[in-house]
Symmetry: D2
Subunit: 341 residues, 4 copies
């Protein structure tokens, strides 16, 4: 068979592991030809492709990012986009397509599947917020980067008797904050799903100081206070009387400093959470996703994506898979609260 | 309530995370008193205990090993052992016991449960070979240590055009070898469950050399050749005409060197796989196990152990949990074989 | 002898290694009593101290931060401060003082030495900008954290074809940027000592893109453009017509994005550079500094600090040691420029 | 100019950093052509070479090993070897040669230099035992790998109350053991330069147990007991009545177990010490060595090698550089002894 593969959306540790697995399994196991499209759907629209042979994927397993490049191009948002995709697949003789990506990328895949293209998706979201799979690759690596940062910040916080606020990824779902905070021994974890009470946060910090240690506050970039905005009683405010100091992390640090009377500092981890070599968990998961995608293609499956359930790789309908976000449920958040303060 | 806790058998990254979670949840969440027994069942028999307060568990989350110490003592193998255990629990006013351990430790727990002690076990095996739970903590850390070693060995192997054999833990089950080998891009993975064909191993190594790279062979300590022993055609043999060069790793390296005509070296990872700070996955899993054990105790459960199923922590009967080993199934091994050579 | 020890200024990986070495060498080697002051000179002024025995320093070698706490308190800036210091030392029977710190902390030590206190300083600056020593501990660890971040960012940059700007510590001296940039394979390194030409930076980025890879720009927090401020031709400006987007890193990223027409992102590493476990180099250096400080005390030395020259630990006059900053010399910067672009 | 480059002897983290620096500096800075020889002197003899352009060295900085391959071939030990080397250099138009290697590789370079070839050597020994330079690259990485292993083993040792013996590289010089042991907080460090007293080692282990912690013994592979062989009073012996259990590490563990009456285990780190990504220190040192070698070539220097003195890269005569080993001096060993026990 002739199989196309592409990576779309934000990059994520493990993408290369999927690509390698698809090529190894396709070429060695089935005698397939594998074609890589550059920069996600952009490359499919433009017919910008490269043949992927065994030699093309040697040594890429431990490397972060994607050797194929990525973009956020959506053919359905481009005039004549879908037609160009179909023409391109036709011209290159692609019999099946394996798109690796998140909601947007797989949304395109869903529609192409409905249009008759044989598609088997591989889910990718570093935020782990896809309902149809227990975990997505990249998440464990991101949690690891954040946890190591927290490990480091404990000692500097304790030495200076100051609060440290760590802002991690997670616009809509707080999985990275929850897991990194639990793994790192954070004093407070704030996630988008549970608007936080500023007074309670300050109280946890005070309590931690009282125990002789310094608080670490882990906050998702998308976390929000329960009642309005963060407001400092003193200091610079914007035209609306609100303090806007970059993201939630720095804003929260400023507020905690004011309210506890002790120094607070913020660290915004940013892009280091998504780059670099994948963790063992992510390398194995990504590899198994790649293998399962090729198996699905050869089984004649289409309109599905591979997913993790327990220790098994299963197939789920693409249409259902991307239907809703997986948020941190109240009971998981409550479970973590015993460690606050 | 007054809860006793102990750690038995080989140490494992994550034990301290369980202990901390039990104490935090018990003391803060329920107002429990928690008593730690030293060195596993030995400490229970001897009434060798220490009160565990919040301060006792500060800072232990990221630390490997167990602050309680461990041993392989089995009260049922000691004259009057079970009676001493019961007397000790009575005297110390222990209302429930949380033993953290593997087959042996939980086997004792099972019998004590049948004898009327309220027991809620927490499974621990670095080999991940317990059938009742998707994963055990410590396993992910061990795989990570092995994977990093493999990552390092690739470059030294390629530079010298030599085979490197990595012997990892796994007496009966090959999970560490399978996952580390898949994550590290091994050329061959050998596990106890699937006796290996020496000729095939040599052939994979030759094939790898032919591609311009050097083979990495990952082998479980308990892996065995399918037909008899490893025999060198030349060189020193023991009284039985068999070559015994330490473990399977060095023996295999000697044989591969002889058969491929290129240098081969073995690395036996040993105890570095089980020491040191737990991975984020293991810290979260161990913490959740500890929380769930306390919850189970307060629910009045007994004779059970906590386990991971998908993303949920569930309860399973202790008697069933330790009934059989979880081995690498043929389909998981076959899945990995596409990467051989 | 009765020896006092304190840590002042910003924390730094290796402080605990110094403390441990002083205690081990003092107590075991010489039968000294060692007294630790809490939070730098603040603790000396207040007589806030703790006896340090062998058991007090067990297990602290691999830990970041300082078990003694730190502050920026300067007794000479406090009314009656120096008198309180002298009275405190008198009352506690301190015969010699080992202050560990940077310019400020050692400046106080210098003056106390001139006032008759026996002082042997240990230099500490994570920025490595002390002229009298080849290296200070903490620097190698900070470079390592920054380098690992750069390693991670390469793959995410290449996948998205975007520039990544990494802001590292270094207000006056660019050592961390220089070493981390050289170790991480940065496309441009900007340091405070060499005001940069914005056009040249942009040109290097373009050149890097042209080679098919994405640029990483490493910039010290104290680096400045050669001609005026960073100015965007479009977009939000402050009241003075200048763009102020947090530190130099985000400002530079915004400008590079505008000028290259490709996305750019900034990462500000912040406090994770100074926390956490020290690198092997720093553990050994800090340990040897501690040992040498005790030896100097017992040799009757005073008014000196220990320093690294080549592989030797030597003694230098405190007055000279803190006289001037060690900046990145033009030839070292020029050496790195061959890698730009 | 047309410059040849090769890597000989055992591989070492940082070799690729040297190669990259030579190519970047040569090609970009001077317009040189750089030719890489495969597998050390073997490739020079056979004229087995590859042009090294900027693209050839992209991405190799963080990679361990050597992209050129290596061997232990010595042309002076091969019939007609030197003639073949000279003919090969002639035919390929090589005007200067940069050999990267240890005693053997640079010994060949010395003789070729005397025979009129322009040679500028780059020193490489993971054991750090070259007298003419403060440090060699690769050493810091090896110490880091060993230190991380020791960090891990502390917790497993303490949990089981057992001694752990860690055997590290160092046949003639104990630098890795000394630095890793000091950085890791070992209870005993044994090096080849100072034959050890078995009774003292056992006494240190007992003392450590008495303090409530478990001993870590770090031993160079080349360390030897002061009086004869290691002899167990019981158990299997070889034909000579001596116990031979693999290397010194396992033998020592067996003996300590017998003499202390507590379990002891050995870990032989082996090849993981020399593979994998170089530490920041090593990447910077290797890069600077490469830059300095090209500068020396263009200055017309020959018969020299580059070396580190303090923070400077200097030039030393090849003939002197390889004249004698740098051993751990008694005062450095004595310095470490305060931590024993």
């Amino acid at each position: 068979m002739r199989i196309g593969i592409l990576t779309g959306g934000g990059d994520c540790p493990g993408l290369n592991a999927v690509i390698r697995a698809v090529v190894r399994k396709g070429v060695t196991g089935h005698g397939d030809e594998v074609v890589g499209f550059r920069d996600g759907w952009r490359g499919v629209m433009d017919g910008d492709s490269v043949p992927l042979e065994l030699a093309s994927v040697r040594g890429i397993l431990p490397r972060g990012g994607t050797v194929l490049g990525t973009s956020r191009t959506n053919p359905y948002a481009v005039d004549g986009g879908p037609e160009r995709v179909l023409a391109s697949l036709e011209r290159l003789g692609i019999e099946a397509l394996i798109p690796i990506g998140g909601e947007d990328t797989l949304g395109v895949a869903t529609r192409l599947g409905e249009a008759g293209v044989r598609v088997v998706g591989v889910p990718k979201t570093i935020d782990n917020d896809l309902d149809a799979t227990d975990y997505t690759f990249g998440f464990d690596t991101a949690v690891g980067v954040a946890m190591e940062a927290i490990d480091r910040l404990h000692t500097t916080g304790d030495s200076h008797h100051r609060t440290l606020v760590v802002e991690v990824m997670g616009r809509h779902a707080g999985w990275i904050a929850l897991h990194a905070g639990m793994a790192g021994g954070a004093s407070v974890v704030l996630v988008p799903e549970h608007p936080f009470d500023v007074d309670a946060v300050v109280e946890h910090c005070r309590h931690r100081f009282a125990s002789g240690f310094s608080p670490i506050v882990v906050v998702s970039e998308g976390a929000k206070p329960a009642n309005g905005d963060l407001v400092l009683s003193t200091g610079a405010k914007d035209a609306f009387g609100h303090v806007r100091l970059g993201g939630i992390g720095p804003a929260l640090a400023a507020l905690i400093e004011e309210r506890t009377g002790r120094e607070a500092r913020a660290v915004v981890l940013g892009h280091i959470q998504r780059g670099g070599t994948p963790s063992p968990f992510d390398r194995v998961l990504a590899t198994r996703f790649g293998l399962a995608a090729v198996a699905a293609v050869h089984d004649g499956a289409t309109g599905i994506m591979v997913a993790l359930r327990g220790t098994d790789i299963v197939r789920v309908r693409l249409s259902e898979a991307t239907a809703q976000l997986k948020l941190v449920p109240p009971e998981r958040y409550a479970e973590a609260e015993v460690f606050f303060g």
